[in-house]
């Protein structure tokens, strides 16, 4: 890989290192804040 691409690659993974825990944290927060969703059930057509 060119040095430029390696820098982008490294930057991307550093961003993901911050972003992914934030996403998982936000998901846990939403789950705790909202009532648990029901698994949808197929409704027959009219």
């Amino acid at each position: 890989m060119r040095l430029r691409h390696r820098r982008v690659h490294l930057l991307a993974w550093r961003a993901l290192l911050v972003l992914l825990p934030l996403i998982l944290g936000a998901a846990l927060w939403q789950r705790a804040a909202a009532p648990a969703r029901e698994v949808p059930v197929r409704i027959a057509p009219p």
Binding site: M1, L3, H5
Partner: protein, 342 residues
């Protein structure tokens, strides 16, 4: 390689790779559909099971595709997985498309609103998960559609590589899609554990590989007493058929190969996908890229006929057992006499 156009240059390795890949995917899908009803607390219909089987399969394959790069850099035994990674990416995209088709067929099958419109206007939670799934799907389709040597040649390896680095965006979007979507359902604890484990493992692999490479990148060749030459290293330190990789200040790396008592210097970047040529070896008298097997002659950096790829060559000197390198690259394919070792 590029002497004439063929849709896919099938080799025995590619056929074996694809057979193992498709067999593994089929086994996973069947196992999921059979085992998930036994493990899950809530009974699901067949279409929901298929939807989840395709979706989770796509996530696992994407994680595997992203893990292959650092694994191959940390241990060359993983290099065979890298050889045909593009087919793995295309299968990931097909699984994601099958997942999307099942979603449209299940959730909006009886909706008076067209499925695509309903999908774009329905978000059950405070945080959007369908939008993240669509973003990931769009990126995967773009990357799968350009996962061919035609697009690689048309765009050039630099732009193609830059485009395919969008995969990191797709991965973040997939994680958000799962976290804001499926993880919000009751009974999603096994998936939460799987997701957390996959994300942590992938991040750890990339950070370990990147820190190792950063140490190598920081090792810049010192100047020789005579400008513009650089001191590359000891000739005796290069094993037969292998290379010493040198980084000139402010430039791309150079690979100095030793073969049958001679030294030759070429660009470290393969003309195909910028693979690390200096981590390859000399096979049949040619430098062979460890990623996809592209070959170059030592003396002029040209692929043997009928192939037409070329890479830059460099001049070398030997002074008291030390290799001196002229960091000014010759035009790709320039003949430079090999340096004969005493």
């Amino acid at each position: 390689m590029s002497h004439r156009f063929v849709p896919v240059g099938w080799t025995r390795s590619k056929i074996l790779y694809d057979a193992a890949l498709l067999g593994g995917v089929a086994a996973y899908l069947v196992a999921y559909v059979r085992l998930a009803p036994l493990l899950g607390a809530t009974p699901l219909d067949d279409q929901s099971l298929r939807m989840r089987a395709f979706g989770s399969g796509a996530f696992l394959l994407l994680t595997l595709a992203l893990a292959i790069g650092p694994l191959a850099r940390l241990d060359p035994r993983f290099l065979p997985l890298l050889y045909n990674r593009r087919h793995l990416g295309v299968v990931t995209c097909l699984l994601a498309l099958a997942h999307a088709a099942e979603v449209l067929g299940w959730h909006f099958a009886f909706s008076p609103t067209p499925g695509a419109v309903a999908l774009l206007t329905t978000e059950p939670g405070a945080l959007p998960f369908i939008a993240f799934g669509l973003l990931a799907l769009c990126v995967l389709i773009l990357l799968a559609a350009t996962s061919h040597d035609f697009w690689l040649a048309f765009l050039g390896p630099g732009l193609w590589k830059g485009l395919h680095q969008l995969i990191y965006l797709a991965y973040a979007a997939v994680v958000a899609h799962l976290a804001f979507g499926r993880l919000q359902d009751p009974g999603a604890l096994p998936l939460a554990l799987l997701l957390g484990l996959a994300v942590c493992a992938l991040l750890a692999l990339h950070l370990i590989a990147a820190s190792r490479e950063a140490r190598v990148d920081a090792d810049i060749a010192p100047p020789a007493p005579v400008a513009p030459w650089l001191i590359a290293g000891r000739a005796a330190a290069i094993p037969e058929g292998r290379a010493l990789v040198v980084r000139p200040p402010g430039g791309e790396k150079v690979a100095i190969f030793r073969h049958e008592g001679r030294l030759s210097a070429v660009s470290h970047l393969c003309a195909h996908q910028h693979g690390p040529l200096g981590e390859g070896q000399v096979l049949d008298g040619c430098i062979t890229c460890p990623w996809h097997g592209y070959q170059y002659r030592l003396e002029d950096g040209r692929s043997p006929p009928p192939f037409t790829e070329r890479i830059a060559t460099y001049r070398l000197r030997l002074v008291g057992g030390w290799i001196w390198l002229d960091p000014r690259a010759n035009p790709p394919g320039t003949h430079v006499p090999a340096l004969v070792l005493p």
